[in-house]
Symmetry: C2
Subunit: 803 residues, 2 copies
């Protein structure tokens, strides 16, 4: 993010009196760039130019910035860094352009003549033009688990030809394996940086390693000794792991593979593919859709393959609870039910078991992994309640191919059987098609599981007004659209206007819908006064009676249309047909994060909630401005470290729920998926059904919070948050008050005393514990007091007599 670059830039200016730097800053959202110094200077002779292809989550950019800092702080060399990103969240694609040299560098353009290129993600070799511009005899470092033999298959022929013809110094390092062995998970940055210092010849290697180690102590000191030591080990062991690839001279003439015959829609092949391959700037204007509409479901074509490990289903252990699918942030694991015929036609590789439950009698059950769409967080395996885990994490390479035929079969030949179990039940909900899939969200994202579930409950009639923030980025990263449609072509309509106006935007949409539905009602009633068949009259009656029932209104409308199609047509009927999509009651949702809901968009949110209109709001509360890198919001709790709250936030979290409750006519729920999956479904169902404004505040773990156990544990963290009293669970339903009951139902238990250990499990709290132990104790004691007092107050309020 630009903030990161700015921070590095400031660091450099302040730390490097000896040197000058130029740093290009590109904001990938606004496409503005800032460069220092004249534009047109050519690169001085002797400058070493390096490119790094990284994954947002692997630390490549951070390591590159660290390299600049090390070289800038400790040598006489001039340095330049430029960092390009796609707009995916963590896990997205990054390219770093670094230059080093003895003369000032003032070239504010991308590197075209490359001395050193590193590809930190093996699957990129087929997605991007990695070796573009690499000079004769230049160095290429690849992170892969491939043997030379594998490479014959995995590296595209064109790449092999370039390597051999240009006599590239080609090295491979299995950084993932090494990092995993060291306990670093997917963080391969130190290993790759060591390779850079070894091969790019910018500094004497030994010297560089010493500086690298010192910088590790400096950078990771606040994360604890363990992290420091793991990274230092990574540097030390990286040398052995780095192996020169002794490729055969025959690569110079590697024959082309047979052409890909896959047929894809024009939008995908002509527009999405070039952009995904970073060739969007070569598209003509005519390739753009002039109305700004993005077709649904395009993310399914990405097949990013960025996971390290993906789950493998163990049918024998599975209890068919569907919790794995329920918590998956990317809809990359889904249960299917197979009829006898579908079962019989399945490939042998497709594991099937008898479906459990009398409603599913006679059907087979399978849990299908979408290996190339999975980001490998492991939430599914973590949440699996079976005695023996029914999901085991296995390397992507082993699964992608194995699952290919199975996936093609269930998608192409197995129908979605979504009417057999209740939609508002954990297990039943997962037999409904998720209409949010394969988004650009981070692995383990706490936000997307909520939205994916919503699309399973109401997706075919949803409209979403999205505030700017993470949910607008993973929800709308051009050119891909992760919102998709069901077999009837129905799915969420989605739009984003501004950061601050999502509530107003959604309110306006809702108002337009209300008016158009009122028009439809009027037309239908007028039609009834004409001479029409009795069956049509009756169908209209039924729809009029049930038109405000979310689930029933659509089918009742279909029945009217069926009758209408068989009746003589006039002007009224014609206009009714034009409004046919308003027979189904729309489910209008406003999505945003806490930066929007608690801060920047709060004025509008409050106004819309106060309006009394039938509209639904989902706040994905990560307790910081996640999209811009973790700035403090009014949702940030006391004592939490965030940007602009570096010594821990000094005020309590705003109680948005209680403020909304004060209206009395706003449905309010506080939910946490991992803590109570049933309460969550209840809240969604009640909120959507309530004929007035609804506000759901959902606890969403986020990479900015620094879960020490990793983002694969985000669902468990949601549970611990509630048990410790950190996050309250409740539902405030004005309909109960109308019945004379207390509208507030407290769904969580009293804090169990684990709050401090919960806090220590997240770096946002833990880092203050190390850097300022006394202040940390004071703030955390205050936070505990607040959490307890909030629970007590909610309990007291929930126990007041109704009227």
């Amino acid at each position: 993010t630009p903030q990161h670059v700015k921070a590095v830039f400031d660091n450099m200016l302040s730390r490097s009196p000896k040197n000058h730097f130029t740093v290009g800053i590109v904001d990938d959202l606004t496409n503005t760039s800032l460069s220092l110094g004249p534009d047109l200077d050519t690169v001085p002779a002797g400058t070493v130019q390096c490119k790094f292809y990284g994954l947002g989550a692997d630390g490549t950019v951070g390591a590159n910035k660290q390299a600049i800092k090390i070289i800038g702080d400790h040598t006489d060399l001039f340095a330049q860094g430029y960092f390009a990103y796609d707009s995916k969240k963590s896990g997205g694609f990054t390219v770093s352009h670094l230059r080093f040299g003895k003369k000032p560098i003032q070239s504010s353009y991308l590197i075209t003549h490359v001395d050193y290129v590193a590809c930190h993600k093996a699957s990129y070799v087929r997605q991007y033009d990695i070796l573009d511009g690499l000079r004769e005899g230049g160095a290429f470092v690849l992170n892969s688990s491939w043997s030379l033999k594998d490479m014959e298959k995995e590296l595209p022929p064109a790449m092999r030809r370039i390597i051999a013809r240009k006599k590239i110094k080609f090295y491979n390092v299995d950084a993932v394996k090494l990092a995993t062995d060291l306990g670093l998970g997917g963080r391969i940055n130190m290993i790759m940086q060591t390779a850079f210092f070894k091969l790019a010849n910018v500094l004497p290697f030994k010297e560089a390693v010493d500086m690298l180690k010192a910088s590790i102590r400096d950078a990771y000191g606040d994360k604890g000794d363990k992290v420091v030591n793991m990274n230092i080990s990574a540097v030390e062991k990286a040398m052995d792991a780095l192996q020169e690839v002794k490729y055969p001279a025959a690569w110079a003439d590697a024959p082309d593979e047979p052409e890909n015959t896959l047929e894809e829609p024009e939008y995908i092949s002509g527009y999405v593919r070039p952009i995904l391959a970073q060739r969007g700037d070569k598209l003509p204007v005519s390739a753009m859709f002039p109305d700004g509409v993005v077709p649904p479901g395009s993310s399914a074509y990405e097949k990013r393959g960025i996971a390290i490990d993906v789950p493998e289903w163990q049918p024998a252990s599975c209890i068919q609870c569907n919790q794995c699918a329920y918590v998956c942030p990317h809809a990359a694991i889904r249960p299917f039910l197979l009829s006898a015929e579908e079962s019989a036609g399945a490939p042998a590789s497709l594991s099937q078991v008898k479906a459990i439950g009398k409603e599913l009698d006679g059907l087979k059950f399978t849990m299908q992994i979408y290996a190339l769409d999975c980001q490998g967080c492991g939430s599914c395996a973590d949440v699996c309640p079976a005695k023996q885990k029914a999901l085991l994490m296995k390397p992507l390479e082993s699964q992608a191919v194995a699952q290919e035929a199975n996936l093609a079969y269930v998608r192409g030949h197995v129908s979605i059987k979504d009417g057999l179990l209740p939609r508002d039940q954990l297990k039943g909900s997962q037999f409904y098609q998720p209409l949010l899939e394969f988004s650009g969200a981070c692995a383990g994202c706490g936000e997307t599981p909520y939205v994916r579930l919503l699309t399973q409950m109401f997706g075919e009639r949803m409209t979403i007004a999205n505030a700017t923030g993470c949910s607008s980025i993973w929800g709308g990263s051009s050119p891909s659209n992760p919102y998709t449609v069901n077999k009837d072509g129905h799915g969420p309509a989605w739009g984003n206007s501004l950061f601050e106006d999502a509530a107003e935007f959604g309110f306006g949409i809702n108002m337009a819908y209300d008016l158009r539905r009122a028009r439809l009602v009027d037309l239908a009633q007028r039609l009834q006064k004409e001479k029409i068949p009795a069956t049509l009259h009756k169908a209209i009656d039924a729809w009029l009676a049930g038109r405000d029932d979310g689930a029933a209104s659509g089918p009742l409308g279909e029945a009217v249309l069926d009758e209408l199609a068989q009746s003589p047509s006039g002007d009224l009927a014609h206009e009714i047909w034009q409004l046919a999509d308003f027979f189904a009651k729309k489910s209008v949702w406003i999505f945003g994060g806490d930066g929007w809901a608690y801060d920047i968009g709060y004025g509008g949110l409050d106004h819309v909630l106060a309006s009394g209109e039938d509209i639904n709001v989902l706040v994905l509360d990560t307790e910081v401005y996640s999209n811009t890198g973790g700035q403090s919001s009014k949702a940030t709790p006391l004592g939490s470290v965030a940007k602009f709250a570096a010594s821990g936030k000094k005020t309590d979290k705003k109680d948005l729920g209680r403020m909304a409750m004060s209206y009395g006519y706003v449905y309010v729920a506080s939910v946490s998926m991992g803590a109570n999956k049933t309460q969550l479904i209840k809240a969604f169902k009640e909120a959507e059904a309530y004929k007035g404004p609804s506000l759901i505040i959902a606890y969403a773990p986020c990479i900015n919070q620094g879960l020490r156990k990793g983002m694969g544990k985000s669902i468990e963290e949601e549970k611990l948050a509630v048990e410790s009293g950190y996050w309250p669970l409740y539902r405030y339903n004005p309909e109960l008050a109308a019945k004379g009951e207390n509208p507030l139902q407290l769904d969580g238990k009293a804090p169990d005393g684990t709050l401090q250990s919960f806090l220590s499990g997240e770096n946002r709290y833990a880092q203050l514990e190390r850097s300022a132990p006394e202040e940390s104790r004071r703030l955390r004691a205050g936070l505990e007091k607040t959490c307890n007092a909030r629970y007590n107050l909610l309990k007291q309020l929930s126990e007041l007599p109704g009227k």
Copy 2:
């Protein structure tokens, strides 16, 4: 307001198919104008051109618009209306420019050749150039109580000369007397409109009267039969009351009066006076202050004299409670204490009695009326609790002269004795000089008494960030400034940025103050480390210890400066002198109405309250957007009629106080001056003293609410609102929570069952009762339920055990 003009314009277009109109719209806030049709057309021959000088409260503009409508709807004449305002609230100056004729009128400029001019306020004859442009033989109608003999004295010689030389048809009508006799109070519009139809010769008179009566039934129908009948009587009786003035021919040579020798500051004589006389557009740019600063206290020079009746003090009946001064919206009635010497030197006309109370032993007491500054609401007389009222309302003419010498004496020769009784007591507070006086607020304004009191409690160290709204208009109507200073030159610093950003604006000011005070502390502590006299060292110690005490910090700072003046000066001392105004702890206030606090500025208000900073917010809650003419806000209660809520508001009033309380660290009070004057002072005192954010929500009756008893009863209305349960009284003090007590104190009693009668006393509720009785009943039952439920909840919350 532009909205009014727009509404009339729309009416005309829709109601007058026969005719064309041009209507100029001037927004007096933005100085933008909209005109229809070409600019340069001259007025067609035969067009009748009329000007009306009115008072904002007397209905002149409304009547003029009605005249246009009558003529437009019922005749073949073309009509044009243009309405110019000053920026005072109700009671301000208006000039209407009306043209009527048989040919289309497309002249978008003010009337310069006048056929008919009406002056609806007698005192204007000396303030404005009323007869400017009146043609030979034209008609002039004056509303005054003057006999011909009075006119010799009251009309300026130049005016008399013009009347006689141009052979003006001069008529007088004592419209105030007639209106008062009919029960119409100050509303003379129908009487003056009758005079217009009689004398301007636009329509046959009988025809015009019939149309006028019909339009009265149409316009006032929703205010009830009584109002309709009073207005029809006014039309009928106006003819007898309209008397031609048989002025002597000698007026043609009326000799000039001796020149006014009053000496005034250059700012007043050179800048304020020309603007007040509507000659501001003749001022050169050099007359403006380039920095935008307006000197304090300039409203005291206006002496608008717009009241009809003003109070006369009855010393024998007075119990010296000072409640009259406490409730006065314009600081136009003030108690003074006279020493023996001051008493002896006073003019005989100054009534004095022995001051009551042992702290005031040996002093005399007088209650001084500021007759020309008074707007005649009568709040003082109404609130007077003495057995025999100690204030009687008498015609302004009888009082202005009688009080002139007394006023000059108390202002010039009687010191303000403000240290004798406690400042935070009702009686004591009124011996402190009000630092808000003679503002442009409406007669009986519910807002200004709160602010006036605040200035008496904290004025000399106050800074005010004001949202746009009534309080920014009466608080800052160029060229006058109603905020003034005490004898030391200290008073509120006041600024207005935008409608929506008052909270942020005040927050920024506060932040700057904090930083500058921190700098002062640093300087003082550094000075202590130098070789300085022990007395200076001690004085600094004392100030450092007491620097956060609002009342003590100023004097402690003075003591430091006294010592510093006697010590050798160096760089540190020099810089301390530059920051000398930061020794006193500032009292930073954010003012705004409900349109700002509940709606447009709420996002910022919430953010500032959440900040935890020591800042004070006063919400003047009139329950509508008062400044723009009464649009519904989120503070508008269920069932209240307002613009955009013409059939009664359908949702409950937002509970701003409870929302702010949810933070736990925000001081919150709900107050209503007339209901509990002591609770109000307590709330102001606690809020100001609290070292964190404070929010005071003050119930403020307003002309937009349509109090049926009139605005002179606004203080009583505040009492009835609380007794009926319509408005809650409470204080939420986080300091109590810190002591383990319940922070919420409920200061009001349970609703006493009078809510429905309270509602029927205000047109905003009563008019729905007439126009839609069933809906009115439904909404009012809902409102009663809400009020009772709110009281019960607050009571339950206030009774929860502390911790």
